[in-house]
């Protein structure tokens, strides 16, 4: 196995270019509209962060390799080859200032799916050794230890025991034939343990059989963020094998953004086959319970609250209405931000930005877009459904000394569960 090289990077980039990419590069008219959709531009005002510009090396490669005129120019030596130095220089654009949030994709007047192409460009960047240090570290830990934050099974088992003591009932591990296999993201295990007990209570009330898997409890997929399908395939295969072994019918992606994309949308294509089980985000499952009347809540939060739409779940995942329906079960004063839903603004930390220390300053500056949205509403509570967003939002609010608690939607629902053991006994 040779080490990372420009040649491997360009080979992978060439393999990634397909008809949509060719159609997109043939359509861009340099109108600059994608910049005004990207929070890394709107909050820095630096034109270098114009989304389509982040693809310039890949565009040139497409032109030189896949168009007659481009090949001719290359023959005549008038075209500028893609160099390793250039890819290294582009790391700041393709990783630090892009959360793969897909807002540029939704706004481009000629319909270029820029996020689709950034994800493909990262294949070349990672194969040529130009991925950020932070993400390389995270990917290595994810592959070798099992989680990008180095969380091991014993840590989860300890948390499970702790939760069981508090709940008074057992949280199943490796329960074959369970209907649902629940996945966690390391951040939930480390920072938001309440998520696990919330799940337990809700499933108990709904009377649904679920299980954790000791072989695959980590939902996050740094391979997707770093942009290496091989690494992503390795990580997602663990979940698929565990799910197949336990013969579950639905795998639940937790309150995490890119995990849902990694398992539901990219998983089958990485594994090269459709899955034998369904993949649902926790909010989709809770909404199904709500519909089936299995999610009984009582009491309402009267604090003024709004919902931050995690990009990979809402805009890139299609889980748009579920959070609203669930929130309205427990919130009397739920107001929407401007452009909420599929066009909401990113928190600034997705797509691997949070794991990339080089991007810290940019990430905090990008948060100002969300700050502006919140300033407009001055809510008391901010609800979201992605642990990574929660950390970024808490971080940002603290830096801007805005005293707004950030709550996970699943937890909030759990707090309003009707005490079933009282009535059903």
């Amino acid at each position: 196995m040779s080490e990372a090289s420009l040649e491997r990077g360009l080979t992978d980039l060439k393999a990634q270019i397909d008809a949509p990419v060719a159609s997109f590069f043939s359509s861009c008219v340099h109108c600059g509209m994608c910049a005004e959709a990207c929070l890394f531009y709107t909050e820095t005002k630096d034109p270098v962060y114009t989304p389509i510009h982040k693809l310039e090396p890949m565009r040139r490669l497409w032109e030189q390799e896949y168009t007659l005129l481009g090949r001719l120019k290359k023959l005549l030596g008038v075209s500028k080859a893609v160099t390793d130095g250039e890819l290294e220089e582009w790391r700041g654009l393709v990783y630090d200032s892009c959360s793969l949030c897909g807002r540029c994709t939704m706004v481009c007047p000629v319909g270029n799916d820029i996020a689709y192409m950034i994800r493909k460009m990262r294949e070349g960047m990672s194969a040529s050794g130009n991925a950020p240090e932070g993400l390389i570290g995270a990917a290595t830990r994810a592959i070798q230890i099992g989680s990008p934050m180095g969380v091991k099974l014993p840590a989860l088992q300890a948390q499970v025991r702790h939760a069981e003591k508090e709940l008074g009932f057992e949280i199943p591990f490796d329960l074959e034939g369970a209907e649902y296999m629940v996945l966690m993201s390391s951040m939930e295990i480390m920072n938001y343990p309440e998520y696990l007990s919330a799940i337990a209570k809700i499933f108990k009330q709904a009377g649904k059989i679920w299980t954790l898997s000791s072989e695959a409890f980590e939902a996050t997929n740094t391979g997707i963020q770093i942009g290496s399908s091989d690494i992503a395939r390795e990580l997602v295969s663990r979940i698929v094998n565990a799910a197949d072994k336990l013969k579950v019918s639905t795998v639940i992606s937790p309150e995490c953004g890119h995990a849902y994309t990694a398992i539901r949308w990219d998983g089958p294509n990485l594994m090269g086959r459709p899955f034998g089980f369904k993949v649902r985000h926790i909010l989709e499952v809770l909404d199904e319970f709500r519909e089936q009347g299995l999610l009984k809540t009582e009491g309402f939060e009267n604090a003024k609250m709004t919902f931050h739409d995690p990009c990979q779940i809402v805009r890139r995942g299609g889980v748009i209405e579920q959070p609203r329906r669930l929130l309205n079960m427990v919130a009397k004063n739920f107001v929407e931000m401007e452009d909420a839903g599929k066009m909401n603004w990113c928190c600034g930390a997705g797509g691997g930005v949070s794991a990339n220390e080089e991007a810290d300053e940019l990430r905090i500056k990008a948060f100002n877009r969300k700050k502006a949205q919140l300033d407009e509403l001055n809510v008391d509570t901010l609800v979201t459904a992605c642990a990574n967003c929660r950390i970024q939002l808490e971080d940002g609010l603290e830096i801007n000394d805005m005293d707004i608690p950030v709550v996970g939607l699943t937890e909030m629902l759990a707090e309003h569960l009707v005490e079933t053991n009282k009535t059903e006994g």
Binding site: E3, T11, I17, E65, D84, S126, G129, A139, T140
Partner: protein, 365 residues
């Protein structure tokens, strides 16, 4: 033969009163499209204009120009113009014939060497000079010979000016206009197929009155008559503006006298005086009679893409060229596409699985 009497003397000798002369000047000014205020100036110039000798040579032509000019069926002031100038040589009009004609011409040319006006109608075959000869002398030679002593040359009719019908594709006789043979003499082009009679006499009168070349456009045509294009002076222009066009020669639009652009009118690119001076003493002109202008005073008007095709249509079949482009594009396209696919497949084959160990440059495997 030219004599030194002035035009005024000649008119008086024919018993024409000063008032008659003023009328003559007024109508000449109108012919020359000069403003009526110019009449005194013209009268004064005409009075002492010398009676120039004129040689008229007809080459590859249909006598349409001569017909149009002299209108042998209705002689008018134009005839008088010719009484004034001494038309020393004109095959059709001369009473003499045979050798006498040639001798008369040589005589006139010798006598007025450098002063006579040479009028040419018809194009000159250079492909094979034998195609058109007079008395054994080829048009080419005769033109060169006659041009030597000419003060100026007037090419009457599109044939002489731009080559006209003989010049149209495929131009079997290798016909050329006068300007391609004579390069060293001032040449006034009076195109038209035929030119409007009053335009011919107007140009002659202007040359006669002012004795110098009129202001001419890029094609050597007197601006007085060829300065404006037909479209600008056309009375149907308002219909063009409103977009009301006749679709066929007998539809509602045609009956209402709408614009004939769609029926191939070449007015917009044709410069001539038809729209104002009109034909047959102001009776009408092609558009007024319901037919589009053919552009007969323009070079290559025979090859302007068909008299009945709109000016905005190409003169080639775009459907055919598009088909050629499509076929070539598809052929090379499939090849280029296949090349792309193989290059992409090769890249996919050459892909080495990326592991966490080789994510950094120079990392040990």
């Amino acid at each position: 033969m030219a004599d030194d009497r002035t035009l005024a003397d000649i008119l008086r000798s024919q018993g024409i009163s000063r008032r008659g002369f003023l009328k003559f000047c007024a109508t000449t000014a109108s012919m020359m499209a000069l403003s009526p205020a110019m009449v005194p100036k013209i009268a004064e110039a005409l009075e002492n204009a010398k009676r120039p000798s004129v040689i008229w040579l007809s080459f590859q032509e249909c006598t349409g120009c001569t017909e149009s000019l002299t209108r042998s069926h209705a002689p008018t002031i134009e005839k008088l113009i010719f009484d004034v100038i001494s038309l020393d040589h004109h095959h059709t009009l001369m009473a003499a014939s045979g050798h006498a004609v040639d001798e008369a011409m040589q005589e006139a040319m010798k006598e007025n060497y450098g002063k006579y006006l040479l009028i040419v109608d018809g194009s000159i075959p250079v492909g094979n000079p034998a195609y058109s000869t007079i008395g054994g002398v080829s048009n080419l030679e005769m033109l060169k010979d006659a041009a030597k002593g000419a003060a100026a040359i007037v090419s009457v009719g599109t044939c002489a000016a731009f080559g006209g019908l003989p010049y149209a594709k495929p131009n079997p006789t290798g016909a050329v206009p006068v300007t391609e043979i004579i390069k060293d003499k001032p040449i006034i082009n009076v195109p038209g197929c035929p030119p409007i009679p009053v335009v011919i006499t107007g140009v002659l009168a202007q040359f006669l009155t002012f004795g110098k070349l009129p202001e001419m456009d890029e094609l050597g045509r007197p601006m007085a008559f060829f300065g404006k294009n037909i479209h600008d002076r056309c009375y149907r222009r308002p219909f063009y503006e409103r977009g009301e066009f006749a679709e066929t020669f007998d539809d509602e639009g045609a009956k209402k006298g709408w614009c004939l652009f769609k029926l191939g009118c070449k007015g917009p690119v044709t410069y001539n005086a038809c729209a104002t001076t009109k034909w047959n003493e102001g009776t009408s002109w092609p558009v007024e009679s319901g037919h589009g202008c053919l552009g007969c005073s323009q070079p290559n008007f025979w090859d302007m893409g068909g008299f009945y095709n709109a000016l905005s249509t190409p003169t080639i079949d775009i459907a055919k060229t598009a088909a050629v482009g499509l076929a070539a594009g598809a052929a090379i396209g499939v090849a280029a596409g296949a090349l792309n696919r193989s290059k992409k497949a090769k890249a996919a084959r050459e892909h080495e699985t990326v592991t966490v160990n080789d994510l950094e440059k120079g990392a040990k495997s």
